[in-house]
Symmetry: C2
Subunit: 284 residues, 2 copies
């Protein structure tokens, strides 16, 4: 099972974190960008990603490129997304593309093939609003998906926190669907290939869902730049397992926090990744 | 307002339909595909799209490329998506990219820039599961979005049909959010720049939402290959306006229905587009 592959990687690194690769050209040292055209920006971002992967791959087991930041640069960006996936995997990393894809079955099948075959990613985030037949094409023994359950943003409650007639919230209902979708794909580690996205910015709900979904691995955004800290993610874990915590901007732009010049982004990212690892390990 | 631009185009063509461009290489005449590599497949799909646009642009006002089918071909596919958008717009067509994008605010901003600036599309489909702050970055006077409300697939009820404590369903709640999001961007035609996706496969819900959301323009999939007919979409209209009906496979693969060789795909597509236009116009 793909979930086992991810979990073994996290155990091997003694580090339950995933580094978000959501690069905007403005994060990069100006010297890296030859010109303002899409090709040069995309090339600079590829070099930025590779430098980050180089300094992180022996301490962080997984990366999560956010598709939007590559789509922003048109096909040149998508080429760089693909090259980033291959580069990270060649360095031994598990790669989850954050695309939150969703559609009817026939189109979901095209998305699954795109991300798992054409791009060769290990995992993909998806959105389950369309229900079962829009999710099934993404599920297999070889790959992992993470479906949105309770997202990290402020407005996530607009729909997700509403109570249903049956007494549970929309996000709890989505959690139950996620649990059902994964039930035939549970690995040796006890977690299924259908994970859930639950934001660290909602620590109570995170702990609540950990209890309700014992076979569901969590992808937890919101740590770092979005404001959540180590105490907020504690509830996502049982016996040191159960979740992978994402940090994107806090790692990519660690040089800002450390008052270093942008040219030192890679060294600063490593320092932040170690700090984050140790902080999280101290509470789980 | 972008909604006015779309509606004026539909009125000018006397045709409330949008042609889905969801091309799989297997739909194309084998003679168009030089080899099985991604580049040759993508080039063949570009030629296929251009031929369809050429025969449709004087009778159909809008096209909807489905992003998944381009992502399937990696960056070569995205290049072709971009070229297809430009080609269709140069022929006077309104272009809605069907990407069902969704994310937290900062990332939604990157998606909005990607589709509305980098690719220059006129509209984009989005998924509102994340709530208001994930949708706001997509909203402007110049562009249009269509948020999923009640989707056309069989499992759409898994979440969307559930009743909330307040007595309305999840899809009705989403409809109210869509209405609120669009309230400051209502054009001269009376419809806002925040439209809703509602499947023709659920005619009752379509008519019900038409009544509840008088300022929301509908993008209606499900006609044709998914099984819905003209009578099913009648309820989406008020005084001949209110919705644009999508057909993808029934137009792209019309040659199959007409027992023609694949080489005749363009002529067959035009015949089907005219038939569909007349059929829909006869009931609205």
């Amino acid at each position: 099972m793909s979930a086992d592959k991810l979990i073994q990687k996290l155990i091997e690194m003694k580090n339950p974190t995933i580094a978000g690769l959501d690069p905007l050209a403005e994060y990069l040292p100006a010297s890296m960008i030859k010109s303002d055209n899409l090709h040069d920006k995309a090339q600079a971002i590829l070099a930025f990603n590779k430098a980050l992967i180089d300094v992180l791959c022996d301490i962080v087991g997984a990366v999560k490129p956010q598709s939007a930041y590559y789509e922003l640069l048109g096909w040149e960006g998508i080429r760089v997304l693909h090259e980033t996936i291959i580069y990270a995997q060649n360095k031994g990393m598990y790669v989850v593309v954050d695309g939150k894809r969703n559609d009817i079955g026939s189109t979901a099948e095209a998305y699954a093939k795109a991300y798992f075959e054409t791009f060769g990613a290990d995992g993909l985030t998806v959105n389950g609003y369309l229900g079962t037949d829009g999710i099934k094409p993404f599920i297999s023994a070889e790959k992992m998906i993470f479906a949105l359950v309770k997202t990290s943003n402020k407005s996530s409650g607009d729909l997700q926190d509403l109570k249903l007639e049956n007494g549970i919230t929309v996000y709890e209902q989505m959690g139950q669907l996620v649990n059902n979708w994964g039930s035939e794909f549970i690995g040796k580690c006890g977690y299924s290939n259908v994970g859930a996205v639950i934001g660290a910015t909602y620590p109570e709900q995170l702990a609540e869902m950990r209890e309700k979904l014992p076979n569901t691995f969590f992808l937890v955004p919101g740590y770092g730049a979005q404001g959540a800290g180590a105490k907020d993610i504690k509830g996502a874990f049982t016996k040191g397992l159960g979740a992978v915590i994402n940090s994107s901007r806090a790692i990519m732009c660690a040089y800002k926090q450390q008052n270093l010049p942008a040219e030192k982004f890679a060294e600063a990212a490593r320092i932040e990744a170690v700090r984050m690892r140790d902080e999280i390990n101290s509470v789980i």
